[in-house]
Amino acid sequence: MKLLLIGNPNVGKSAIFTHLTGVSVVTSNYPGSTVSYTKGYLTVYRNTEDDAIRNCRYQAGSHKQKRKHRDIQKNGDTEIIQDDCRKGCRNCHRGRHGKYTENLETAKVVEVIDVPGTYRLDPDNDAERVAVKMLEEGDFLINVVDATNLERNLNLTLQLLQYSKPMILVLNMWDETKHKGISVDPKKLSELLGIPVVCTSGITGTGLDELAKTFIAHMDTKRTGVEHKNRWEYIGEIVGKVQSLKHRHHTFLERLQDLSVHPLLGFPFAIASLLIIFSVIIKIGDYLTNFTSLMLERYYSQLIYLIGDWMGNKGFFYDILLGNISGEVINYETAMGVLTTGVFMTLGIVLPYIIVFYIVLGFIEDLGYLPRIAIIFDKMMHNVGLHGFSVIPMMLAFGCNVPGVMALRNLESRRERFITGVVMSVTIPCMAQSAIILHAAGTRGITYVGVIIATLVSVWIVLGTILKYVVKGHTTTLIMEIPPYRRPGLQIQIKTLIMRVKGFILEAVPYVLGGILVINVLTVIGAIDFIGSLFKPVIKGIFGLPIETVSTFIIGIVRKDAAVVLLEPLNLTDGQMITAVICLILYFPCIATFVVLLKELGIKDTIKATAIMGLVTLVTGGIVNIALRGWLSPSVFIIIELTFSVLFSKIMYIINFNRRIQKIGLK
């Protein structure tokens, strides 16, 4: 049996899903945080003294749980036998369900699906298309609505009621109705709509037990669809009967809301907050990494020496695992062993930054600031052929490009997806990469970090401007719901943070360590020199880099942070270092991003995107190489490139404006 959580964007479907199934999914305060569906499972125990519902946790992880997961997927909604449940369900393992285990023959597994939000059933973006497709397959609908915004939400509800599927209406955000002075009568609403209505809060979890009970009571019922001719009229009638509003004073959050989109103050406010956000991330990240390096040096080094002694301080594995650890203290940056540099860079440098970044991102996501940034920067985004919403994928990309690319699904036209996807994967370094860059370039002076940032900004502007006029298709206009500011819930924040950090440790760290391993092996067997000689004209000729840097470009395909790590022992000049870092950011997204890009853009557009990346790298790398040869001070270069890119954008606008005028004239 398939149970769908369906409703408008940003009403709390994912929050409820997490509560029901125990599977963590991202919730955030902007429309469109879920773009693809997530499945979870509920085990329903019936015919016991009191019917009960428990969630089974099937998070990927232990082998047993994975097997269980597969079994359930295979069997669909077949009843599961006692043995089976013991194997997979953590709760049953612990015997917390002792009472129910005798009756497990009657347990039934229900598949719960967290569907992307949609305003209507004739979709106009990919995320909504997923929702409508899922709807066809669902057996039971749980329509989650925002109780503080009944009118708009009921529009979808009435459309869902046309389907002959059993349905429950969930009035979520019930906690918010009180301080918003809105009161809704769920009983009357239930009578009018002819379906059960449950009031819940996705944040505190109140009402969710009742939801589960209501579901059990109605899971085998049938319903025939009803159609309403004058939908809005009928909605007006319903809302008039069930909702009453009380006047009340503005809260602090609401004042902040008005300030954030203030015509004059909104922009400086946004710039200031972004600057503060990023400098806080960098400052705290820096502080933490100093601390972790100290800890590693003090305690971890002992372990390394021990392993070294045990290996006899020489040999093939010694070189690969520990690298060059001679000298008074271990130089973790240049030792190049998997266990030394690999561990130091991932856990010592990148992890602290990732944690700080996601704490901050989680906060502004849940507060609801992202859609407001989208409004503020809407005008600016028009310069590169986009509108404000594209800011959201780009902000996410600063954490990791993968969720950034996934969020492209919220964009409506192919052109917007292409431009956003390319500009983002070319110019926005993920946090892991940024951490290492800050670490590597920071030691060479703040101006060099400035050069990197200014170059990326310039490429962003110039590339975006060119794409704006070259890529065919249309850009849609900004029409976006702006959720109210919400006080971020600490529990959800922590949960999301743990999920993201876990994701990094499980999915990224092994690749970095593996990458360093592979490069070490390739170097030992001499393959690097060979590949290096093939790319010599580009690397040496255009970028002015030593041949050994080729290894960084190879590993950069897998992980960018690992690539920058490999630059450190190469004794590069300042100019070379910056050129290499910039080229590494631009030339290719990491393989994980590439794969999702392929999925979101399709083969043809991804090939085009890859060609663009290559071209951009050649041009930019060449320019930076020449500029940083010493004849130009870095700060002057920063000013020149920024001025050039802004002028370029303006000139292109004027040229094309004239052309448009001419076109109209010809008509």
Binding site: R120, D146, T148, N149, W232, I375, D378, G388, I482
Partner: protein
């Protein structure tokens, strides 16, 4: 008095009288509650033909300048 949404002052309210955009856009606006006869309030407008923030129902929606220009409100 009939006014374009763009020309309304901050804080002004009125009933939407007409939405002169193509059908696709009309449907999209309607799904968000912006339809003929709905009560709408202009809350803010970004400088330089930026988006307009309106209040409708109990929620807020941002609309591009081009769209707001074709929404006529009776105030």
């Amino acid at each position: 008095m009939k006014k374009r949404l763009n020309d309304m002052k901050k804080g002004q309210k009125g009933l939407i009288e007409d939405i002169k955009v193509d059908l696709k856009m009309q449907l999209k606006l309607e799904s968000l509650g912006i339809r003929k006869g709905a009560l709408i309030e202009k809350k803010a407008k970004m400088l330089g033909n930026g988006p307009v923030v309106v209040g409708i129902g109990n929620g807020e929606i941002a609309l591009a300048h081009e769209v707001a220009n074709y929404i006529y409100v009776e105030i």
